[in-house]
Symmetry: C4
Subunit: 207 residues, 4 copies
């Protein structure tokens, strides 16, 4: 692995962490982030770190089976969700997973629904490839589990059925989204968080 | 076009962008801003930029038909709304368009109403020409559309009928407001956002 | 008037403005602030200024009848409320008036009540002289008006009847509070804003 | 007492104060913080200080009976709660007490309940020793009182019955939490505040 490439991508991840922590979307060491290095590798956050104060040392390299290439470092428990996304989407360059209050609550009140659906918001156009508010954004919803192998398999199945998704939610847990650049991925996070906030407000006002 | 004037106005737009982004009112590259250059031209944000990190390069000059004078740059899709306002109000010096959570939700729950009406708030006095809380501020509400020609025509019609408006809302989309200086326009944004927040709170408490 | 004293007090007012604006409690040039200079004079904010960016020039000296001693500067429309407080409370050294979302909404939903009452909050102990949560803080509520002479008279009457108040609300308008130092007055603002936020939450949850 | 150790721990407390004040969790001089020095002593905040601007002078040393070793300084009224925790948990290195809006409201609406219970949130894993969202976090709830001796005795009793607690609430007052390092204690505060915010949102949406 080219150390300069790892360095560059580590900086992207560290900066994303600072941005997301400042917004309150990765409190108490929650969340995990990654950036693709090449077809077979990604730079990923180590487990249990403060996401607003990441250093180069908190980033490790994993292969697409989620195996750490940095023997001393333990990758995030949810590494397999990242690698499942990189394998499915060849042009995905970054994956961000956040735990915001709004994503947590919206995913919990959705109950047994298969997805949260957002419609008729101008900001939906911030999602890659969406060109009108008159769209129907289906955000898959998975029950929470500590069994990451099972969740990664469910995600792979769902990606086959719904390859046009821009993100997914895990119940009581948070959001995963991705993009063709780190910049696009951060835009997706901002868009989803804005939309979740609007949607909860709507439900509060017309329960 | 005097390049020093363009430069000065670009700085106004860039600073307004930083301010509005920091408040969370233009997330995920949403929003667009402009400042009048002379009777026939305005400096306007290019399409799709991060509004909190605008640079001189993200600003272009348009004429009052919305045509870009900077061939390499694509103006915001909503340029015609800006130019319609500049043509109607000769003393308008700046136009700001934001996408806040509160403006989005308030405009959506208003349903088929023609306007959102605000009354009996002291902060209404921050709107240019208003000198008492005992006023009735009528904020026109337009259905959202991607057809900017149609929306610009509707806006022009509405301006004829209600020339004393200080801003308008597009449903599920956001707020437009303007002023005789950029400073006044920023004051209008702050006032409207404050009032939208109050109004939603009021509706939450007495649905 | 000793220019060094005016300077010192102007700095107190400017810093309070920055603090209160950053919290979002004086949006869109709303609010006004003052600091006592001596028995008969106070330094006060001029009308219509941005409260987060006050400069020495935005502060003027008034006597206790609200008359400006700086001929070129127009004092805030609400000067008489400040001077009424300074005359009634000889040990009051600062008066701060804010327009927060919570104060605005809480004062509006209170309807025709004579006061908003807060009980059983530990933070009540932040109000000068209160030593237990088991207290009953009565915050007088005045209907809004643009007639400041009338409002100042009503305030004077109410002060006679309820001299132990720590602040009052004007409907759809905001909060006045004061203290024996600027520091104490800022503590009162923080305490009231915290309590208003709690109280609105309580009402939202058990309407 | 080794002055260098006191210095180091004072810095931890001062920085925690800045962090917590910036979040709005210790408004108006509320809250108090401590860090263990050795088996028999802790560094603790003095009474009534602004918690976002603590200086070395605002920190004093107490023994585990709550007696100040700095004669000129008055320890926080709630010192006995800190020392009760240090005596019960030999590995506790820091105690933080905050007064947030969410903790205040959640504790008040809980009425006569003995505890607030949180379940099925991924962020529960941020609490020391919790490894799954499928847990049941029981947060004891004490009625508010100004009698700290009585409250400290109640706390000691409850600790005997429920030694696995990570924090407790006092009604209308706030949260106490602790940890084996100041870093862990700050993580606990962030986790609890996140969970309280989620829980209130849930209750607002399905009352």
């Amino acid at each position: 692995m080219d150390p300069k490439l790892v360095e560059t991508k580590a900086v992207e991840v560290i900066e994303a962490g600072r941005f997301l922590y400042d917004r309150g979307w990765v409190p108490a060491t929650s969340g995990n982030f990654s950036a693709r290095l090449d077809r077979d590798h990604a730079a990923l956050t180590a487990s249990g770190k403060h996401k607003g104060r990441l250093t180069r040392d908190d980033i490790l390299v994993v292969d697409m089976n989620g195996k750490s290439l940095d023997p001393g470092k333990r990758p995030s428990a949810e590494t397999l969700l990242h690698t499942t996304l990189y394998r499915f989407f060849p042009d995905t360059a970054a994956v961000l997973h956040t735990h915001s209050i709004n994503a947590t609550v919206l995913s919990k009140i959705a109950g047994n629904a298969e997805a949260v659906v957002l419609e008729d918001y101008e900001v939906l156009k911030a999602l890659q490839g969406v060109s009108t508010h008159a769209t129907r954004e289906v955000i898959p919803l998975f029950p929470n589990t500590q069994d990451m192998n099972a969740l990664a398999r469910d995600l792979a199945d769902r990606l086959e059925r719904q390859p046009d998704m821009h993100g997914f939610l895990i119940q009581g847990h948070g959001l995963y989204t991705w993009g063709r650049t780190m910049e696009e991925t951060r835009r997706h996070i901002e868009a989803f968080e804005f939309l979740f906030a609007c949607e909860l407000e709507m439900r509060r006002l017309s329960p």
